[in-house]
């Protein structure tokens, strides 16, 4: 069996030491740190990304909360404004209605006064004319000079009884 032939034992040991030492030093100093750094970097990158994702998620939740609260606020503000507007509109409408009522009352009063005045004037006119007619008739029937005052009184009393 060639394995038991000691002729090349020293050579094999020598080359084993040479090659294995080279391998050990090379891997120890160059290859393994490189692979290790890659793995470290990847792990760090993954954990960093996870942390960033977590942070962003928290931020997003924050923003969502803000949006929600702002929405609630806006809604209440809107209802407030609506209430105020409808209130003020109602007030205004009420005022204007009152004003209109007042104006109408005034106009009605004016009209009533005018009508009264017209009526008075007309009645006076009629009275005067009755007086005139009475005077004329009397003067035609009897030559009697009666003063206007007396006629007026007479007509009035007659009118009163007629009325």
């Amino acid at each position: 069996m060639p394995q038991l032939n000691p002729e090349f034992f020293v050579s094999q040991l020598f080359w084993l030491v040479v090659t294995f030492s080279f391998l050990l030093v090379f891997l120890w100093r160059i290859s393994l740190p490189r692979i290790g750094s890659v793995l470290d970097k990847r792990e760090r990158k993954i954990s960093e990304d996870l942390a960033t994702a977590k942070k962003l998620q928290a931020e997003a939740e924050n923003i969502q909360e803000q949006i929600d609260s702002q929405l609630i606020q806006a809604r209440s503000q809107a209802t407030n404004i609506l209430k105020q507007t409808s209130n003020s509109l109602q007030n205004k409408a009420g005022e204007e209605l009152e004003n209109l009522d007042k104006e109408l009352d005034l106009k009605i009063n004016d009209s009533a006064k005018t009508i009264e005045k017209n009526k008075k004037e007309s009645l006076e006119n009629i009275e005067n004319q009755i007086n005139d007619i009475t005077k004329l008739t009397l003067s035609k029937i009897i030559k009697l000079n009666i003063s206007d005052e007396e006629i007026k009184k007479a007509v009035k009393s007659a009118g009163r009884s007629v009325n």
């Binding site: 394995q3 038991l4 050579s11 094999q12 080359w15 391998l23 050990l24």
Partner: protein, 248 residues
């Protein structure tokens, strides 16, 4: 080495050491042989693969880089599982040992390539490095208390005269079992392949196909064994290192 005609087709012929140069230093023959060539190829394959496939800037690895990282993680996991945090210091050594044996076995699976792990002197040297290193480590960690490693607590006192020698022998036989396991596996596997290869030529007509099929199957098995033995070598090294920290 002049081989006789009778040995020409011996299945053990493949383990013959053939010097390629003739060098002597201080009376010792350190000729560069086919075994040395295999070692150099093995080291070149490992260093080139681990250097060329790993791009330190890539966050996302490609397939080949993944292979390197898997090997790294495989041994790192093995060490942390068996030794724990103390094991990180020995990672380069265990990794080098694992890769050296694994790729040495794999290079040996290439036809016409020499398998240096099939030589007891090589495996014994590797196992001795582990054994001596672990023993020194044990003494460094525990001083003279390291000898309590051979004392098994919780055993009736009259058993100790029997158990302590057994423990000592089993400890001292560690490098032998470690080296012979690897050497014998490689020797047997390659011899078997060679024997069946001989059958292919020797069998008449087309019946030679049958041993050829066997060779294909055995080659698969040998590749499995090549990995398995490297793994066993590495895990036993880890366990020995663990023993140096935790005596019992």
């Amino acid at each position: 080495m002049a081989s006789k005609d009778g040995e020409k087709h011996s299945p053990l012929e493949q383990f013959e050491i053939i010097p390629m140069t003739h060098n002597k230093i201080g009376g010792y023959d350190i000729s560069f042989t086919n075994s040395s060539l295999s070692m150099v190829i093995t080291v070149a394959v490992i260093t080139l693969f681990l250097t060329l496939t790993v791009n330190p800037r890539s966050i996302v690895p490609n397939r080949l880089q993944l292979v390197s990282e898997l090997m790294y993680n495989f041994i790192a996991q093995l060490l942390s599982d068996t030794v724990g945090n103390n094991g990180k210091k020995y990672f380069p050594f265990v990794f080098s040992l694992f890769m050296f044996v694994l790729i040495g076995n794999m290079v040996g699976m290439v036809p016409y390539q020499f398998t240096f792990t099939s030589h007891i002197i090589v495996t014994f040297a590797l196992a001795s490095v582990v054994f001596i290193g672990v023993t020194i480590l044990g003494f460094l960690n525990h001083g003279i208390k390291f000898f309590t490693f051979f004392y098994i607590p919780g055993v009736p006192f009259y058993m100790h005269p029997l158990l302590i020698p057994i423990e000592v022998i089993s400890y001292l036989s560690r490098p032998i079992s470690l080296s012979v396991r690897l050497f014998a596996n490689m020797l047997a596997g390659h011899t078997l392949l060679k024997v069946f290869a001989g059958f292919v030529v020797a069998m008449p007509f087309f019946t030679g196909v049958l041993p050829l099929v066997f060779i294909v199957a055995l080659t698969g098995l040998e590749i499995l064994i090549a990995f398995l033995q490297a793994y066993v070598f590495a895990i036993l090294t880890c366990l020995y290192i663990n023993d140096a920290y935790h005596l019992h």
